[in-house]
Structures are given as C-alpha cells and as structure tokens.
Symmetry: C2
Subunit: 409 residues, 2 copies
C-alpha cells in the first residue's frame, strides 16, 4: 500500500493548452493495459529534459539527447512501458530511431522533433511490430490530454497513477501546470526507473527552461531514493507550450519568473515524492534532513548513506528505534575527517544522540512513538558547516523483496 499517496480525480487535472495526448494498448508486455502514450505539442513549444547518468543508459535516452541537441524544436513524445530497450546495442538504437520516425511520419514532423521513452525490462528487444501498431492507434486518438490516462499508461510496477496539476495566478492571468510521473523501484539520485513529464502553457524561452528543468530535477527527482539503484532509462522533461498569454519568460529575470519557477519546482517535488510514496513495498515515507555539513556534497553523502542502508530501512519497516544503525550509516558515508563527537541525531522532534553518544534524557519510548508513525523525519547535524540537504526515501519491507523477486514472472 502506498504511503499517503492521493490519486487526483481526473477532473482536478487541468488540460494544458497546446498539449494533446493519445494512448494505446499495444501488448508490449502484457495484454489489456495502456502501454503506449503519444504526446503532441503545439508549434513553438519549449522542451527541456534531464536524463539518467547511468553509463548503461538505454537507447531511447541516447536518442532523446541527440534530438534535443539537434535543436529543431521538439513537437512530440512517445512513451512505452513493458520493455526498457536498454542493453540492446545497435539494434536498440535502430528501434528507438524507428519509433521516432513513425511518430514523425504520422504527425508530419522530422524524427529529430520527436522524443522517445521506454521503461520496463532490460536486455530485451522492443516488439517493434506491436509498438508501431500501437503508435498508429495512439496518434489516431490524439485529443485533449486526459492526465489520469497518461499517468496510467506509463506505469510499470507502480500501484497507483501519479499526477499533479495546478493553476497559478501570474502576470496578466493564469498559467496551468499538469504533470505525471512513474516509478517505484530502481530509484536513486540522478534519476531512477522513473519518468516525469510536466507541461505548462506558460511561455518560457528554451535556455531558461533548460536551466529550470535541471534545478527542478535537483530539488525533486534527484533527491529521492528507494533502493539505491539508478536506472538506465530515467528521464524528466518539462514542456512549455507558450499558449497562455499570462507570462513570457525570456531571461528568467522577469518579476514573475520566480512565481513560475516555484510552481514548476513544487509540481516536480510533488511528482517525485509520489514515486517514493508508491515505492516498492513502502510502508513509511521517510524524510532525511542533513544539516551543518561542510558542503552540499557531504550532506548528500550522509543523507544517501542513511537512505540506502538496508539495516536502517528494515528498522523503519519494523518500527524499531534501533537508531544506532543510523549513526553507523553516518560513519561510513565517506567523510574521512568526520568527528563523531560533534554529531546530533533527531528522530522527529526527539533528541536521540548528543555529541555522538546517546542523549542522557533519551528514552526508547520516545523513539518508539515516532517510529510508529507513517511519515518520519530523521535529522542529522554534522557540526561542520552550514550546508544542508533533504532526501526522501522509504522503508524496506518483505513486500519489496516479493515485488522484485517476482517482477518478471
């Protein structure tokens, strides 16, 4: 069961002017499920993406990067689930290119104007015949976006669709932001088996959108972890159609720019957190705050050491205030000159460890009370400086093992 993950109603997810969508059940891996999504964008849309840093990045990721670089103006996206088209060599690249060519042909675009995304099992080839038929269907059905359908069409082991939407007053009127994400395992900094797509009708010049997309990813999808595995296929794309007359962001220095950026950032965080809330086997939503670090890199090392520790995660699953495991993770995070006598540990509001040792007033009942909650904050102060970061993660349950032991069967 996901942790406090609300599925928005279809009505609460606003269409975004300039964005059409279509779907298909192409039987990429399983029958009777939406597994192909085509997104069509109005002319002049700005599109920016960030992608996995995995060196084994999948064919579609390589094609996306090349097409964004080509600079012909992205006008369509095509997404399939069920097969990641990763570890597929030259044939995988040819398949990804053929996929973009098919969409381009149907929409009257050049292939370089199409981005392609795949998620699912690695080391298997795409069933191109079924995928191309699915694209025909999806394009034939293109219409005003139904974001809940879009969220459903990109799911793999997700138990619930993930979407967010908001209207923001800015400048002369309103802008709309709507987005979807998917992912439940193989989630880790520098993206994950996650896909995130966020659209707005605001006008945002490409260089600004590039910068903002990286900043939004760093504040959201690059701050979540479920199992420490970085996927081959992670992609996060922000699209700005410019159909709203409310704002025109050309430099990012406009007075209304910060409102638009904050709205994008908050939507990104909501989409990223939704992935953690639906993390494979998750029973707890854990926020890890690391403060007083010498720099952000240190803070991240410590946060991820805690967030990746199977021992810490199983203790959360058991609601066991076995908090020494957190200190052990801090100790092996890779800060060579860490002074354990300067470290403070809080669980929720409870002061657990003072100057590296058990706080004399700490009683296990206090830790137990926090551990029993479904949303828990761990706060570590390193006593080294002023840098800080926040990372979101889950616990580690029997269900996680079951899901990943049975994923393909």
């Amino acid at each position: 069961m996901p942790v406090n993950l609300n599925v928005p109603s279809a009505e609460s997810l606003h269409p975004v002017a300039g964005v059409d969508m279509g779907y298909a059940m192409a039987q990429i891996r399983k029958p009777n499920r939406k597994d192909v999504l085509v997104v069509s964008l109005s002319e002049g849309a700005s599109v920016a993406g960030v992608f996995t840093k995995n060196r084994f990045c999948a064919a579609p990721v390589q094609v996306c990067q090349a097409h964004l670089q080509a600079g012909k103006g992205i006008r369509a996206l095509v997404v399939n689930t069920g097969c990641a088209n990763a570890g597929t060599g030259e044939r995988g690249l040819a398949d990804a290119r053929a996929t973009t060519a098919k969409v381009a042909e149907l929409l009257g675009l050049s292939p370089e104007q199409v981005l392609v995304f795949s998620t699912g099992v690695i080391l298997e080839n795409l069933p191109m015949d079924r995928l191309l038929l699915g694209i025909d269907q999806a394009v034939a059905g293109l219409g005003k976006a139904n974001w809940l359908d879009a969220a459903t069409a990109i799911m793999t082991t997700d138990t619930l669709p993930k979407a967010t939407s908001r209207k923001v007053k800015v400048g002369q009127g309103d802008i709309t932001l709507s987005g979807v994400s998917k992912g439940a395992g193989m989630i880790r900094p520098n993206m994950a088996t996650m896909l995130g797509f966020l659209c707005t009708d605001a006008r945002i010049a490409p260089p600004v959108l590039d910068r903002w997309t990286k900043a939004c990813a760093d504040a959201s999808f690059n701050r979540i972890t479920i199992d420490g595995d970085t996927s081959t296929n992670d992609s996060f794309v922000i699209m700005a159609t410019g159909q709203s007359a409310a704002v025109n962001i050309q430099t990012g220095d406009e007075p209304e720019a910060s409102v638009v950026f904050q709205a994008l950032r908050e939507a990104s965080i909501e989409l990223a957190q939704a992935i953690v809330r639906d993390g494979e086997g998750a029973t707890k939503f854990i926020t890890i705050e690391v403060e007083e670090a010498g720099n952000e890199d240190e803070a991240l090392k410590v946060a991820y050491a805690i967030g990746h520790s199977p021992l810490v995660k199983t203790a959360f699953f058991a609601s066991d205030p076995n908090l020494g495991r957190i200190l052990a993770a801090v100790g092996y995070a890779g800060i060579d000159d860490l002074d354990q006598t300067k470290i403070q540990l809080y669980l929720g509001d409870v002061y657990v460890a003072k100057n590296g040792g058990r706080h004399p007033d700490y009683r296990e009942e206090q830790g137990q009370a926090v551990m029993n909650q479904s949303e828990i904050t761990v706060r570590v102060l390193l006593g080294r400086g002023k840098a800080r970061t926040t990372v979101w993660t889950t616990d580690f349950s029997h269900e996680y093992v079951s899901i990943n032991a049975d994923y393909r069967s």
Copy 2:
C-alpha cells in the same frame, strides 16, 4: 540456512601453542549463551589488527588502536557480544578501558597489553557489572583453546559458528593456524559487523605481521559484502605466538615466508567467506569477478555496485535471470567514461551480453540453469585495462528483512 557452510568438528580445529582461552555466560543481552571470550597469549607474541573505517567507530575499536600503538606487546584479548559499545561517547570509552583494566589486573598485565572487542546493538551502554563478573569467570576457566567454543562465544545473528584450522609443513617442521570469525549482517568492504581472529604458532616479527594482516584483510574481509552496511566495530586480528620452532619470519623475504603468508591468506579467505555463506537470509553464494578494469579501484566500484544492488540481489533470490539489472549496476557504478559497447557479461560460463547488448546466441534457459544453482559466478569484462578483483556476496531474501526487522525484539 547458510549456503554450503560446513561447521568443522571440534577435533579438526587444532590448538595453537601459546594460546589459551576462557568463556563465560555473562547475560550481556540474553541468558544461557556464551557471550564473553578471553584469549591469553604467551609472552613475545606478535599481534596485528585492522579495524573498521567507519568514522563512528566504536569505543573498543578506539581503545584497540591506542593499545596497539602503545607497543607494549599485546598479551590478551577480551570479546563480548550483545552490545557493541558504539555511539556511547565518553562513557563508552571509559567502559572499554575498564574492561581492559579488569583483564590486565587478573592476568598481571598492563591495560595497554589487552585488546577489547564488542559486537551487538549500537547506542546502548555495556552492562559493566555483568561483563566484569563474566571476565572473572572466563579468566578462571582459561585453558587450551577450544576453537569451536570460541567461535560460538562471539556469534550474534550468526546461525552457525565459523572456524578454520590447518597445519602447514614449512621449514624445519609444522606450523599451526586456527581462527574464528563472526558476522552475518552489516557486512561491507572495510570490514563489517564482523570479527575475525586468526592465531598461528609461527614466529613472525611485528612489522611483517602488520603488513601481512593488512594484505590478508584486503584479500578476504575487505572483499565481502552482504548489505553494504559498514559496521562500527569491525576488527580482524592475527596473532603469532612464535611457539613453533619451524619458522622465524623477520623480514618477510625468507624462503619460507610465502608459504606462511599464503596459509594465513587462505585461512583469512575461508573465515571471510564463511561470513557470506552465513549471511543474513542468504540462499545463494555469489562470486563477482570484474576484469579488464583500468585499475583496481574501478574494478571494486563495479563489483560493489553489483554486490550491493537490491534489485540484483532479489533477482538472485528468485533465481530470475533478469540480467539487465546487472548491466544497470555496472552503468551506475561511478566510472564516468565507461563505454557500454565494450562490456561483456558472463553468468557462470554463459555469455550473456556481448559489447553491451544481449548476445545473439544467449537463450534465457541458459541463464535460468545457472541461476538455479546455489553458488553463482558473475563475470564482467570492462574492456578498459588489465586490473581485476573478486568480491563475494549473497542474495537478498525475505529472511533478510525478517532478521533485521526483528533483530532486537
């Protein structure tokens, strides 16, 4: 159930001249189990140790390092299970020192001649009254070492005692090596919640033994991982009593030195592998071989990325040849200029991925046949150079979650 872990019979574990041992049931954490071990060494013994690199290293580790540095000649070791005396601040240090003082007093030594080891729960103080009574008992019972009792007395979540013993012909006669290890979780490079003690009656000068102990640890305890957690308390100590007249190693360049070193190295590997075979919830023993790396650090990064991946480990548990997860781990191991088209992957003898893509001849039945075995070798060729390494690990099972969710209850 441990994976192919044989418990040696008490008779097959040879006493080592110059080593006496005593035990106690001190009820450190649980009743009716041996939980205190005292080892007494003959005068003139050489002792060398390597310890956890965790910056939250426990009080006993800090005391051991200081006492080895003092150079007064180590003559005794005291080990307790049930409480790690880690995250215990100044009081923990005082307790560890009081423990060595107690042993020293009973044996007529100075405290600096005593090493102290603790393993168990972190963030709790030692029950000093019970521990000191236990030391009285253990010292009163000192006698010729029963290595199986020693192996049992240092267990925590271990399901079986781990010991090894051998006699080696060298120089003018025989030398004897016997040792024990413990550890089943929180196991990771740079030691683990693991303790390893290896004794020989060979004479080995302290500087040589220092060097050899580091080399043995690097070939054994620093090449195993169960869950990626590095403990606060890991320690590996080699003791050479010099009671055998067979060899006298003063420089390490003696003709018989390599035989002695190889015997120590093999015993260390056996003790380390025993920990993996008894890894928490282990159902498989996995050997990860990384070859053609640019340097050893690269090889280790890749081996540990594979060995720590929960997705890879759950696939092993399920005997699921979902081998793309291995390629994904190679890709995120942190080699920035990795070229995926140069990577070969073998599972056992089966050639799975060629030049980064699925090998055209690979059939899933072949991968399945290897996956069904209890001992599996993964071999990755990086195509970057000549460095290589080997790491041993386990799969990730429901049982792992159960053990670590219930450890303290």
